[in-house]
Symmetry: C2
């Protein structure tokens, strides 16, 4: 852990970590439908201290961490593998292609990273109840981490969350409240809950340490790419907090003088859940009116981190794309059959974006290095690919029954 | 890689790795129902060479590997986390309790380790087709690894394998043949196939490198326990090959002079799939007549590695136990809610065995260190725990609707 302050990403005011909890007291409005969060706080570390102590040969990631080790949950999170796909890179006209497989976190998604850090913060604050709204993954993540620490998890999920995710969170022992309506309804309800009834709110972007937790995926990408900055990182975007977390990793590395450029961040959204894409393209924010995408983890009407995600994409020289559900499910199958990595539709959205970009006039150049961030495990939603594949009928167990 | 020979575990004859492929030519009978494999081969390394070169501070696991690096698939496999459960250890009267979470392999099970090594061997031999019979996990594992290498996977599965496992292997691009009947029928059919139509057979124990691949889980347990030998390792047992692989890890470490004792191996079976348990207890082998357990991954009539598993358990001073399906599903929920680790029923069987042992007169002593090997991801079969839990009904998204 390195000393840090919170800085408002809108007005720039700074606060000690015990002065504020969620948003900037000046800029953070209470949540209203159709208004992305304002006053989101960013942790600003003592970068010279990190610079002086960080050794790439023996990386001490704790230097980039905002909560003391002694509060960390016992569940190992992160340190997921990054696979190199040489055949697919060549086919797509890329120099190098990696897939960072964050579906291999304990609850099956990158969200474990955020839950880990917020649970640590709750332990530091002596708060025993952690509350979250989630499309499913953040909730499973919070439930898993709390199971390991003995903290209580209270979770609001849209009633249409995939069954596997609901089973997980109940089995982990969380209190699960399916909510009629959308993720945005669940989000608002969870804010009401912690405002009026207590507990620490782990909502994404709302609690500043969710971004810090997700940042660790970006730090690992840098290390696994050989302590080099990839040219582009493709990230599926719903709320925009995973993208924000990855951006924060490279900002921190840059501020600490460990890298001298940022990777281009390519945000990929489902075409029915495209609020951030339109915001980046036009500069004007409006909700995604009717997000119906099969990629449930990125199905969002009003992305909480719309402002931060847009800023990060533009600062990095990146861009956004949208893809259809058909492109997402096709990319899921392509990725599985080329790499052995089975990622959920939201994770495959990033790969669908790469396929689309490389087929366009904006394709990355032939020597470019790119990373696909696969955010969740495909086993979380086996119904999604089922619509595209068929399981062959059973045969008698004799060689003569086989046409192969 | 270190030079090795194959040695028959029955007659002790040795062979170079290019003289034999599957079983000892003298002792290995062709597969017949009701007869566990005989003539299973074991890789015997140049242990003095390993001893001279292995440094616990910078472990080079390649020294224990039977196939050259250059043939290894690009899919990262293994290096899964091992979580320490201090609260649960105290409750169970143990000094230390770890859970090795091998469900966090790319296809969601420990079987990736065996498929990885057999795919490497196929590459070395220039064979493009790999064939397997599987209850589901080995097949998904083979399909995943072959997706990463471009090799072809042909897979025979019992028609009742869980849907998530079938979806996975089809999506990975394998040729999947559901077979009417049991795992044992699929096993026999796959042997017929490679004998008469070609390809490399990856069947568990039948191909000697399946044991070697699974061995890596044991090596990692040793390292993650601080390069110490745990007092006991609990392993769910179906075919007995995972247990055999874990045993081989500690035998190799012992032969290389790196450890001076073996962990006690506790094999846990479902009570309807208990052939190895009865074999250990009585010394007389007979099939499990009707294995109906919900823990599909360990549902086996005639375990291929019955002889090897029994030998390993007895040599280690270990024992076997059986548990009911009710105990398995209860243990799955208990483990999830205490640790954040959601393992499939077969993985939870090991934990059910620990709970049962600690409640018995044979309980491990209060200072003992124990490891639970969680072999597969719970997301592979979310129907199993669904029978025991309920998802609460959805509520309106207003605070007043909550009784919490």
């Amino acid at each position: 852990m390195t000393p840090f302050v919170y800085r408002c990403t809108d007005c720039g005011r700074t606060y000690s970590r015990d002065e504020v909890r969620y948003l900037c007291p000046t800029c953070g409005e209470s949540y209203r439908p159709g208004i992305p969060l304002t006053g989101v706080l960013e942790a600003v570390f003592d970068y010279p201290a990190i610079h002086g102590r960080f050794q790439p040969g023996r990386p001490d990631w704790g230097l980039f961490c905002a909560v003391e080790d002694r509060y960390h949950p016992p569940l190992p999170v992160g340190n997921t593998p990054m696979a190199r796909l040489d055949r697919t890179a060549a086919e797509l006209g890329l120099g190098t292609l990696w897939v960072k497989n964050d579906g291999l976190n304990p609850s099956g998604s990158l969200k474990d990273r955020a839950s880990f850090l917020v649970a640590a913060e709750a332990a530091r604050l002596g708060i025993d109840l952690i509350v979250a709204a989630s499309t499913g993954n953040a909730a499973s993540a919070l439930a898993a981490v709390c199971a390991s620490t003995g903290q209580k998890a209270l979770i609001f999920v849209p009633e249409k969350a995939p069954k596997a995710k609901l089973v997980q969170m109940v089995l982990y022992g969380a209190t699960v409240v399916p909510v009629k309506g959308t993720y945005d309804d669940a989000f608002r309800l969870s804010l009401d809950y912690t405002a009026k009834r207590g507990g620490l709110n782990r909502n994404t972007a709302y609690h500043p340490l969710t971004l810090e937790g997700k940042k660790t995926a970006g730090l690992e990408i840098w290390a696994q790419a050989g302590f080099r900055v990839p040219d582009a990182i493709f990230v599926s975007v719903g709320d925009g907090v995973i993208l924000g977390g990855v951006a924060k990793a490279f900002l921190d590395l840059n501020r600490a003088g460990l890298i001298d450029r940022l990777p281009r961040l390519i945000g990929v959204q489902a075409d029915t859940s495209d609020a951030i894409h339109r915001y980046v393209e036009t500069g004007v924010y409006s909700d995604a009116a009717n997000p119906t995408t099969r990629a449930d983890s990125i199905s969002v009407t009003c992305p909480s981190n719309a402002h931060g995600a847009r800023r990060a994409i533009l600062e990095s020289g990146g861009l956004t794309l949208t893809v259809t559900d058909e492109e997402i499910l096709s990319a899921q199958a392509t990725l599985a059959s080329r790499s052995g990595i089975f990622t959920e539709p939201a994770g495959a959205t990033a790969f669908a974006g790469l396929l689309k970009l490389q087929a366009s006039s904006r394709a990355l150049p032939a020597d470019a290095s790119a990373v696909i961030l696969a955010t969740g495990n495909g086993l979380k939603d086996v119904e999604a690919p089922l619509s595209r594949i068929s399981i062959p009928p059973a045969v008698e167990p004799v060689l003569e029954a086989l046409s192969l």
